[in-house]
């Protein structure tokens, strides 16, 4: 397996094969959120204690940089990496409870859930490399205005992704997979009628 560094492909270690998790998204799918179009170019697959979670790596059109689309069981989160985010000093995943507050860049967020996930596999383009499975303790936080943040404790200092939860409709996704006997046309009311 090879991975590029500084525009030169560089070999990275072998990762486990992706698990078929029935996600309706795939590499090459496109969409737009708030008028900004994007293409899915990469994917990281996480394993929860139960089930799987994908972080789809998005390339935003018109040089708008990159973003992530978290996806599991029909829930979607659009986030972007917030570099050098200032967290509550001394924040540790082992002492947080859901409902407690966390400060990110001076803004108060509230913990929604704490998960010890494992990164199991990846595909496509990714902004970093990984070798084998690794643990990613993750804390999801929200604000009353709907702002969503993920704090990933697999690195020190933790990585902070900020964005919001979005509905399937808002994403205007195209080039989706057909799964479990459902076709992409079953995703939208209008097409569902035409599909029959």
């Amino acid at each position: 397996m090879s991975v590029q560094s500084e525009d030169a492909l560089k070999e990275v270690g072998q990762t486990a094969a992706l698990v078929e998790d029935g996600s309706p998204l795939k590499l090459g799918a496109t969409g737009s959120l708030d008028g900004k179009t994007f293409k899915i170019v990469g994917r990281i697959q996480y394993r929860h204690p139960v089930g799987y979670w994908n972080e789809w790596y998005l390339s935003m059109d018109k040089d708008q940089g990159d973003a992530w689309l978290g996806e599991a069981n029909g829930m979607y989160f659009f986030t972007r990496l917030k570099k050098d985010a200032k967290l509550t000093p001394g924040l540790q995943i082992t002492s947080i409870n859901a409902g407690e507050s966390v400060e990110i860049d001076g803004k108060e967020f509230f913990v929604k859930d704490i998960q010890t996930t494992k990164v199991v596999s990846g595909e496509g383009e990714l902004p970093f490399a990984f070798e084998g499975e690794y643990e990613a303790p993750v804390v999801d936080c929200v604000r009353e205005d709907g702002t969503f943040a993920t704090i990933d404790f697999s690195e020190t200092p933790p990585l902070v992704f900020i964005g919001r939860a979005v509905s399937f409709r808002e994403l205007n996704l195209m080039h989706l997979r057909s799964v479990y006997g459902f076709k992409p046309a079953d995703a939208t009311p209008v097409a569902a009628g035409a599909q029959a």
Binding site: S2, V3, E6, G22, P49, T116, E144, Y180
Partner: protein, 571 residues
């Protein structure tokens, strides 16, 4: 699109796009064999479902690579009615959903309800909850419910919360226990699992919060406490009925002795933490809609009022409130206009000394009395109005009766009203009595606007003896008779109060000429005095009716409110 689109910072790694695997094979339902009974088990959603129940023996199974693993062994039939059978497809709000599972849960009071798990790969999972024939479509919410203080709502009655842009009020808090399951689930479902649920409502919406607690060891690693309990049970020979001991993650609310849990916590140095706060929002669905969506032959009968069913009496109450509001404003408006038009204006205020009046001695049987007349002046009524007359005098075993003539100077139309004053008293101590008073008043009917000439003809016993004596001393004085008022048609005479003494009706037309007054009738000191005040009054009776009407409106409202509250009690 070039590979470098959205390129990360240089120095970072990335997979080559050409390493992307080819289009994966379509994911479809898989057939398995039940490790308990050997019967076929269909897994509709491989890759998603982590729990599936054998349709034949009801064992709870777990997909593990290419086989099904036995988690909880059962040999029974699913005892609950499935109104929406597993595998049924339906269209709600234009989106196709497939029913893949059903959970029957119950509270500690013995109530049970069904939660049908609906699936669409693009939109995820929904719960269609059926309780007493009422249906609610529930969706998990990515956010948290926030209370008034701007913090996440927690256990217990926290008043109102805001979730997904909706404000809901606390409704109830209870412990829900999984009674039974059928179908397949994306979580490790087991029978007997309990959860603390807090419900909020704002019909047709409903929100609920279920928090997940988890135990961690000293290194901060999640611990499956059920396994520890099972181990403990074996070593201490405590009989454990729990079959679901091999759960990887436990919600911390397993139905075991709290003492055992406490012992294990202290023994292993565990910490209990709330790791998830799961909020969902539901919307009431009419049974007919569900029946049509899933093409069901039968649906359960509705009982009572659904938890988030819009109260039909609420709409009626609000309508009555709105109508009351409008009518209240209208009534207030009308009343204020009426009150604005209502007025009280003194049109005449005169103290009259009857010494200037003309008197004539009359005899009725053995009773002597004096007739007199005077002209208080003219009054002007600007609008159609009632006129209140008020007479006052100082009486001492005396009476005065009065006939007031009001003659419209333009039309000649006349009105006559009468009133009477008398004051008598006697006795002493216990037997003391008095009758009548020194004032009287009466109100005319509505008088048309105009200039009115007033003429008062009266009779009295005041000074009758002095008058008689003066007559003997001075004799009569003959003068030209006073101008007799032009008598138009008398529209109405207001009856005077029945007096203590018989009153002789006085008719100015019958006034005889010839027997005229003494020139110097009993002097100023003895002259009876009369104060006459006339007020033009606009009728304000409509305000009284307005107030009564408003009270009636409020009563009507209270009635609807009580009915609404009674219905609310059925939730």
């Amino acid at each position: 699109m070039s590979e470098s689109t959205g390129a990360p910072e240089s120095g970072k790694f990335r997979y080559r796009a050409d390493m992307a695997p080819p289009e994966p094979a379509p994911v479809v339902a898989k057939r398995f064999t039940c490790p308990n009974c050997g019967g076929p088990v269909n897994l509709e959603l491989p890759g998603k479902s982590v729990t599936v129940r054998c349709p034949k023996c009801s064992s709870i199974l777990e997909p593990d690579h290419e086989v099904l693993k036995l988690r909880d062994k059962y040999n029974e039939q699913f005892p609950y009615r499935q109104w929406i059978p597993i595998g049924t497809e339906g269209i709600l709000n234009g989106i196709k959903w497939k029913c893949v599972g059903m959970v029957v849960r119950g509270d500690d009071d013995g109530g049970t309800w069904s939660e049908y798990l609906l699936f669409n790969p693009y939109h995820g999972y929904r719960y269609l909850v059926e309780s007493s024939g009422h249906w609610t479509l529930v969706e998990q919410v990515p956010g948290l419910g926030f209370d008034r203080s701007g913090r996440p709502g927690w256990y217990g009655p926290t008043g109102t919360i805001k979730l997904a842009g909706k404000k809901l009020r606390y409704f109830t808090h209870y412990r829900a226990t999984v009674k039974n399951i059928i179908g397949e689930f994306p979580w490790q479902a087991s029978i007997g699992e309990t959860n603390e649920v807090t419900e909020y409502i704002n019909p047709p919406y409903q929100a609920s919060c279920e928090n997940v607690t988890q135990y961690f060891d000293k290194e901060g690693r999640p611990v499956a406490i059920a396994a520890l309990i099972a181990a403990e049970a074996k070593t201490s020979l405590v009989d454990s009925q729990d079959d679901d001991d091999d759960e990887q993650v436990d919600d911390g609310d397993v139905d075991v002795d709290a003492i055992i849990v406490d012992a294990i916590i202290s023994k292993h140095g565990l910490t209990k933490r709330v790791t998830e706060s799961n909020w969902s929002i539901g919307e009431y669905r009419h049974p007919e809609e569900i029946q049509a969506a899933f093409k069901l032959n039968e649906i359960p009968e509705k009982v009572g009022l659904g938890m988030c069913e819009p109260n039909p009496l609420r709409a009626r109450y609000l309508l009555s409130l709105a109508i009351t509001g409008l009518l209240f404003l209208a009534t207030c408006g009308t009343c204020s206009v009426a009150a604005g038009r209502a007025e009280e204006k003194v049109v005449l205020d005169k103290a009259i000394s009857l010494s200037t009046a003309e008197f004539e001695l009359k005899k009725e049987g053995t009773t002597d009395y004096l007739e007199f007349s005077f002209e208080p002046g003219n009054i002007e009524l600007n609008k159609e109005t009632n006129v209140e007359f008020a007479f006052e005098s100082t009486l001492n075993q005396e009476w005065i009766s009065l006939n007031v003539f009001m003659i419209d100077e333009q039309t000649g139309r006349g009105f006559i009203y009468d009133g009477e004053l008398s004051y008598y008293y006697g006795g002493s101590g216990e037997d003391k009595w008095s009758e009548g008073g020194n004032s009287t008043d009466f109100t005319t009917e509505k008088m048309p606007p105009g200039q009115y000439y007033l003429f008062v003809a009266g009779a009295t016993n005041i000074g009758v003896n002095e008058f008689k004596r003066n007559l003997q001393v001075y004799g009569e004085r003959v003068e030209a008779p006073p101008a007799v008022p032009a008598t138009g048609p008398l529209s109405k005479a207001q009856p005077g109060k029945p007096g203590a003494k018989p009153i002789t009706p006085v008719t100015p037309a019958a006034k005889p000429a010839g027997k005229l007054l003494p020139l110097d009738f009993f002097g100023k000191a003895k002259a009876p005095k009369l104060t006459l005040q006339m007020k033009a009054k606009r009728d304000v009776a409509s305000i009284g009716w307005g107030v009564a009407f408003i009270f009636w409106l409020f009563g009507w409202n209270i009635y609807y409110y009580i009915r609404y509250r009674i219905k609310e009690g059925e939730r």
